[in-house]
């Protein structure tokens, strides 16, 4: 049977077929759906959301250490968080087969950078496999486990957005049940004390040589020969683009196993063609190594290193061809940036925060990053997971030291706080910081599409779970001024901020209200009640001041002819932030 699947769905299926029994991840686009799709194999695989990628990788490593086949999945920047564990896994190797899925994001569709994690695989001295489509995403995962166990090596399974989120047909196979490998205590392998690490390093270098020999033989690296004069070395989704452009006018060396590279195979291929192109997305990972091995090729001097590739980018770069196209005049297009949803609980908080003067607001990664945008304009920085609180701490210290009169507010979501923000809050409390730290607790990991986390009361596989109490947690860290508020009540927001500014010392404000798109649990209904209100403009009272539009709610529009605001009943969920913002009481509450 064949099914249309995304690469992420295919990886989940592949892990199932490979006999994996443990998987862990922290959600992050474009990797999130991998664990979501492993979740339903509940009888066979334990699938967990970890609080961050380091914990996910270490937990999966632990399962491998115990002798089971395991998987960790994360977006490219998640590997940075997990890097400490990963770099030493290169030395220790594994017991049960271990795969780390790294979902890279060329083009920064939903990321802060476009780093190429193949470099991480080389740096960590582990194997790297790159699928080109959904079928390979399933098939190669199974190969990855065989290789991992045969060579005692962790395997990075490097995907990119277009492989993760494109759909192609996938043929299924049966699951292969695997017995756990009997546990043996191996202190020289798994205790990386200096004396052991010194011995592990030469062993790893030898292993890489054996892996290179394998790389030259494995069908994961295959030639497609059409008798042409052009040869193309390519990997990942770029292979499909190259085929689209050159079809049978070129020969291909398709690299599915990219660390270590099959340099002998590449050299033999290069000697059979007149012109050799290297078509790879992002960094010249293969090209640099080929050049160092003395193989002449054409690569990044023509093909962009920045942004994602596509068939037309390759066609323009190598063949100088461009398809004709037509455009509409620029005045026919107004930008359509993403916005906070109607009823988003972050809106009330940012609306209140944006009115405060002389503030620096450090932000973090999540839907609430959008608080920076017009018309809220409430955030000054967004860098990486957890950085809001630590950057804010350093900024406040520096301002004070240099006599700059500014207050710093750090804003972070519930899931991001539990990811790494908690460590940052420790430095605030321990080192006598003076920042206002706001945990925007919308009861779910929202931006990646609603995943559970240690604060929501449920696990990935739907079981009830321990639920962290944020108030108790931050108090235990040493924060004395803690306040939980409803962010939809503007007066509460304002009062909480003012109290925090007046308090001499660090404070935490927890804004507790569910994401407007969240499916309420029974506990949610009990705490937050069913949503049954809507807001409506009383036209006679509306003076056309547009203050309600400053909340940035997509349900509110302003009619320039009538000079009145309008609330779209198909979108309004009755959060009533606009109602409180209106100085003329021209917005009323109506029952849906």
């Amino acid at each position: 049977m064949k099914k249309l699947m995304t690469g992420n769905e295919a990886v989940a299926r592949g892990a199932y077929e490979a006999g994996v029994t443990y998987a862990s991840a922290y959600p992050g686009t474009p990797s999130t759906e991998i664990l979501e799709n492993i979740g339903p194999y509940k009888e066979d695989i334990i699938a967990e959301w970890a609080p961050n990628e380091k914990v996910a990788l270490e937990s999966a490593f632990g399962a491998s250490f115990a002798g089971a086949r395991s998987l960790a999945a994360m977006k490219h920047v998640g590997v940075n968080v997990a890097a400490d564990a990963l770099m030493t896994m290169g030395y220790t190797g594994v017991t049960g087969g271990f795969v780390l899925v790294s979902a890279d994001d060329p083009g920064c569709h939903s990321s802060q950078n476009e780093q190429d994690n193949r470099i991480f695989a080389k740096f960590a001295k582990i194997a790297c496999i790159e699928p080109s489509d959904s079928q390979e995403s399933k098939d190669f995962i199974k190969e990855a486990y065989t290789i991992s166990e045969a060579f005692d090596v962790a395997v990075m399974f490097r995907m990119t957005t277009r492989v993760c989120h494109s759909k192609g047909l996938v043929a299924f196979e049966e699951r292969e049940e695997r017995e756990i490998i009997p546990y043996e205590k191996q202190v020289q392998k798994f205790i990386v004390a200096p004396a052991h690490a010194q011995k592990l390093h030469p062993y790893v270098e030898d292993k890489l040589k054996r892996l290179e020999a394998f790389s030259n033989e494995t069908p994961l690296n295959r030639e497609e020969w059409y008798g042409a004069e052009i040869g193309i070395v390519t990997s990942g989704v770029a292979y499909t683009y190259a085929k689209e452009v050159f079809k049978e006018t070129a020969n291909y060396l398709k690299i599915g196993f990219s660390n270590p590279l099959p340099m002998d195979k590449i050299r033999a291929f290069s000697q059979k063609v007149k012109t050799l192109y290297v078509i790879e997305e992002l960094e010249p990972f293969m090209e640099d190594q080929m050049r160092a091995a003395g193989i002449a090729c054409i690569g990044k001097e023509k093909i962009p290193l920045v942004g994602e590739l596509s068939p037309d980018v390759i066609e323009a770069a190598l063949l100088g061809k461009k398809s004709d196209f037509l455009s509409v005049s620029p005045d026919k297009i107004v930008p359509r940036p993403p916005t906070l949803c109607a009823g988003c609980p972050h809106r009330g908080f940012f609306y209140g925060l944006g009115k405060k003067k002389n503030l620096v607001v450090t932000g973090d990664i999540g839907c609430y990053t959008l608080g920076f945008a017009e018309p809220l304009n409430a955030i000054d920085s967004v860098h990486c997971m957890g950085a809001s609180i630590s950057m804010g701490h350093g900024a406040q210290k520096a301002f004070k030291k240099h006599g700059v009169e500014k207050r710093v507010v750090s804003v972070i979501g519930d899931s991001t706080f539990l990811h790494t923000g908690i460590n940052s809050l420790l430095t605030v409390a321990y080192n006598g910081g003076n920042t206002v730290n706001v945990i925007l607790d919308n009861r779910i990991t929202a931006m990646t599409g609603h995943q559970e986390n240690p604060g929501t009361g449920f696990t990935l596989q739907g079981d009830p779970a321990k639920e962290v109490n944020l108030e108790d947690l931050v108090k235990a860290i040493g924060i004395e001024h803690v306040k939980t508020i409803n962010p939809l009540k503007l007066k509460e927001v304002d009062a909480a901020l003012e109290e925090a500014f007046e308090f001499d010392g660090p404070s935490v404000i927890i804004t507790r209200w569910p994401c407007a798109l969240k499916r309420y649990s029974e506990k949610d209904i009990e705490e937050f009640g069913p949503l049954e209100n809507q807001c409506q403009v009383i036209e006679d009272k509306c003076k056309g001041c547009r203050i309600c539009t400053k909340t940035g709610c997509p349900a509110i529009s302003f009619d320039n002819d009538k000079k009145k605001a309008f609330i779209d009943p198909n979108q309004c969920v009755g959060c009533m932030v606009c109602l409180q913002s209106c100085p003329f009481n021209a917005i009323e509450r109506v029952v849906k």
Binding site: G168, L169, D324, S327, V328, P335
Partner: protein, 193 residues
């Protein structure tokens, strides 16, 4: 099965484009085509501009296309048609749903919704069809079937109306919405001559 066909669906997050492309691709697979489809998730869903690409033929390599390569652009929203027009072959076809959704700068009154978008596109692409899927869906009794009306038009434009779409609808939507969506698909097909 001839050359690979390239379809670009554009619109705004929340308009049901993903389901629309799922219906289309399911029908194509049932008929034996190789299909590749590409979507972008994440930030794009927060009311932003959304596109899906569907490619089908005997054997499809790349999941995405570049500018000037779509045989058909089907736009669920007027202004989005303009934003993605560069992806259509100059000899290609455009189907525009006569439905306007203001973006943030428009809603806040900072910009006006552009006028004359449909006329400008029609003056550039000969094969332009405008449908009022919202009205058709309302007449049918559920405005939420607007996306399926549009898919119906697309299917007819592709000359694929003879496949078993009723079966496809049955396998892709919830049982209680099957009948109305089959109707919506037929109404959409009737919009294309």
């Amino acid at each position: 099965m001839g050359e690979t066909k390239n379809i670009l669906l554009s619109g705004v997050g929340g308009q049901g484009i993903i389901l629309a492309s799922k219906i289309l691709s399911t029908g194509l697979i049932n008929d034996g085509y190789d299909v590749k489809m590409s979507e972008v998730h994440g930030m794009a869903q927060r009311g932003g501009s959304v596109t899906t690409q569907v490619r089908y033929g005997e054997k499809v390599d790349s999941p995405i296309i570049g500018k000037g390569q779509a045989d058909i652009l089907v736009s669920f929203e007027v202004m989005e048609t303009g934003r993605w027009l560069e992806f259509v072959k100059p000899t290609g076809q455009v189907i525009i749903n006569q439905w306007e959704i203001g973006s943030a700068p428009i809603l806040s009154g900072k910009a006006l919704y552009p006028k004359g978008v449909v006329e400008e596109i029609a003056s550039k692409i000969d094969h332009t069809t405008v449908i009022d899927a919202a009205q058709l869906a309302k007449d049918l009794g559920n405005i939420r079937t607007m996306n399926v009306v549009i898919v119906g038009a697309l299917i007819k434009a592709l000359g694929l109306e003879n496949l078993d779409w009723e079966e496809v609808i049955r396998s892709t939507v919830k049982p209680r919405f099957v009948d109305i969506n089959i109707e919506a698909l037929k109404i959409g097909m009737a919009q294309i001559k």
